[in-house]
Symmetry: C3
Amino acid sequence: MEFKASDIAAFLNGEIEGDGKVKVNNVSKIEEGEPGTLAFLANPKYETYLYTTEASVVLINRNLELKQKVSATLIKVDDAYQAFAALLDLYLQAKSNLKVGIEQPSFMDASVAAGKDIYLGAFAYVSKNVIIGNNVKIYPQCFIGENVTIGEGSVLFPGVKIYDNCVVGNNCIVHAGAVIGSDGFGFAPKKDGSYKKIAQIGNVILEDDVEIGANTTIDCGTMGSTIIRKGAKLDNLIQIAHNCEVGDNSVLAAQVGVAGTTKIGKNCKFGGQVGLNGHITIGDNVQLAGQTGVSNNVKDGEILLGTPAIDFKLALRASIAFKNLPQMVKDVAWLQKEVEEIKSKK
Amino acid sequence: MEFKASDIAAFLNGEIEGDGKVKVNNVSKIEEGEPGTLAFLANPKYETYLYTTEASVVLINRNLELKQKVSATLIKVDDAYQAFAALLDLYLQAKSNLKVGIEQPSFMDASVAAGKDIYLGAFAYVSKNVIIGNNVKIYPQCFIGENVTIGEGSVLFPGVKIYDNCVVGNNCIVHAGAVIGSDGFGFAPKKDGSYKKIAQIGNVILEDDVEIGANTTIDCGTMGSTIIRKGAKLDNLIQIAHNCEVGDNSVLAAQVGVAGTTKIGKNCKFGGQVGLNGHITIGDNVQLAGQTGVSNNVKDGEILLGTPAIDFKLALRASIAFKNLPQMVKDVAWLQKEVEEIKSKK
Amino acid sequence: MEFKASDIAAFLNGEIEGDGKVKVNNVSKIEEGEPGTLAFLANPKYETYLYTTEASVVLINRNLELKQKVSATLIKVDDAYQAFAALLDLYLQAKSNLKVGIEQPSFMDASVAAGKDIYLGAFAYVSKNVIIGNNVKIYPQCFIGENVTIGEGSVLFPGVKIYDNCVVGNNCIVHAGAVIGSDGFGFAPKKDGSYKKIAQIGNVILEDDVEIGANTTIDCGTMGSTIIRKGAKLDNLIQIAHNCEVGDNSVLAAQVGVAGTTKIGKNCKFGGQVGLNGHITIGDNVQLAGQTGVSNNVKDGEILLGTPAIDFKLALRASIAFKNLPQMVKDVAWLQKEVEEIKSKK
């Protein structure tokens, strides 16, 4: 797709300075700008690149005063960063809308109810009684199990696997290789030390506006549902066990692991590699630093660090003391010796 | 599939109370019961739901004395939970047995030896000289490398990838996206700081009754085998490196990582995100708490926590002391000052 | 493929002792040797197996003096281990070269530019404007997004997913299930607590000789590139976030996680489950022990352990003191009591 500078300016209510007929077909960073691309200048510390960039079009703030001549066509807007972000969204939206139609070979059971303008990539597999909303994009090699529902506007990137009976809300994004609805990890010990599998018959519900990262796994409920609430964002390689719940707009960084039946509140933020025990409750607005391990309930608004998790600031102070532990061992030994000596002299 | 209450009662040697002709086609939790479903009541604290549930059929313990009128058809059995679990197993078994046949397009080399009643999903790929036992279910988009053997009754969920020469035992379950037999991570340093790949020519052996979680990865032996012994259960996103061994009936929670050539004994239980060094031996019946990091051999029956791993109870006590370290720093400083003062006064 | 002992000896400049016409079609460990296989003896402690092995051919060091009669055909070389490794490389190379051609059904857009002797497995999907170098092997069920370039001799194992615009260098290996170029984890908070997705328009660049493990995920740059430099080796289940850089010949063990915009130098070695904060810089030749968590910049050559990461040797000493903390708590309490007592007596 190619766009003319004057058309971009019109869309952004911007003012052109230079050749409005110049065309761009991609974007670039201003410091790496190439001919045929559009860049933006928002941060003043990058201003020197404005005078040397080879980008064909640059978005700048209306109030910027030029110090040298610029070869690129300029588009002056109120907020160059916001304008750039708006253009990107428009571009990605347009690009995504081009993906329409059923590629062959793909597999769609006759019982599937599919909405308008869906994309189904080659080698994708859609099982019985699946319901697919309007504008859903299912990339190649995805697997959709029986009775699954996928809401309007959701996108499943290549190789996503969704087990039977799961529900994906509207405008969700699931990245490549993610597995939704695999069996919960439940086994009953037998007398001989071996285990009997406990049937896992629940499902996973992703509410609207959820994003799931690449190769993340979310197990189904043993009975009932594992639920990812509206607007929650999960990064790559995360594990969510059976019957967990992640609250509205909570954000989990990569490689977090949550054991079974744990409930996470709203608007939480977890760093990477955080681990949560099963059967606990995490309040709203909780923040957990990377690698933190939580074994007990956490109240609203707490900020924790470490394994076992303690107050963030306390953990930082304790970590400094930890580093000095070898010296403290010596200090205490000296004190013991001195005190014994003092006592013996009496 | 739909079942009549009287048929269920007959199968369970149960006693009907109410309309035996009622039919159910799904199960539910008693507190969320819907018409057309079967629920069970085992835990007395849920008894109130028995009188309000909309489930059509409820399994109850024979000795339960009803306190109010119940609208659902009741089936009285010796142990309602066991009876429910038995029904579920039967249901899942029946459902799984419906999956039979070779869907197209799929790829099966002419040299493949396939047993009876197998299921091969569309877009699955079966390479040369593969042997597939009776009743094996291979879901869509699986890849089976050359010379692989898959034992009777095993199930490979969508997108499982098995490299050449691996062996899957009988009645194994491998969940979506798991990778079995990828190259071990072996490189010989060269003088210029770069690395030469060491050929990885071994395989992976899953013995009987093994379950492997979604997106888990198990590397092949450099030479020889990486072995997951009979009845071991591995959760999602686990990494097992080359030439490791996981003992009979050991259970590893999600995101555990085991470095090369480490041997894990029988009946162990590891929490999530546990990490094990390479070339160590873990005894039988060892328990490791979540996020524990183990660098050395561990004896039979030990229970460990922390990185580096120490005795579980000691680790808990040390963690409490850790939290109080900032105060202890002050206490020791005060002691030093006081002792110096006492000494100086002499 | 079958090879004659005399041909192997000629290739290795080795000296035959025994029947040169014996043929082998596989390799084995000397202690597990079977007829028709080739083994090697490098480590003197395995010498006893030389006299009992059923392997048909054994490579031995030229200077080894036999203590008993050997039934296998021997090939004497300067360095048996090196010779064995060279044979393996040759064998794997030959085997890989047999994989040539386009299997059907597969999907290759008409605009794709493909080199000579490529392999494209069934159910693989190659999008618009992809460029594929000579001798590239793309296994079944891979997905290659638009505008991707794959350099000569690279191998993508089954189910690899590469998003649009990524670049794979020459002689790279990407293992099954790895995801290259998924969206970076970027969201702008809105006033109501929900998040707006920030468009992720960058790519991933794998330079030459890079190896990526199974189910590892590498996010694209938000703008610009996430770069894995020449010769770097990444194990399984690793997470590399947007705009990171991994330096030449750095080696990352399984389950490492690196947050966004962090730069890792050359020739680093990270143990498993290491976690790195975002926006930090790690020098060259840095070594991080397993499970280490790094929040700040690290200088060239540092060796660190723990969370927060501190000097390796200091961390070991502090860990020993940590184990003794419960005792130290008692010691300090005793000291406080004693000092108070001494003071009160004055």
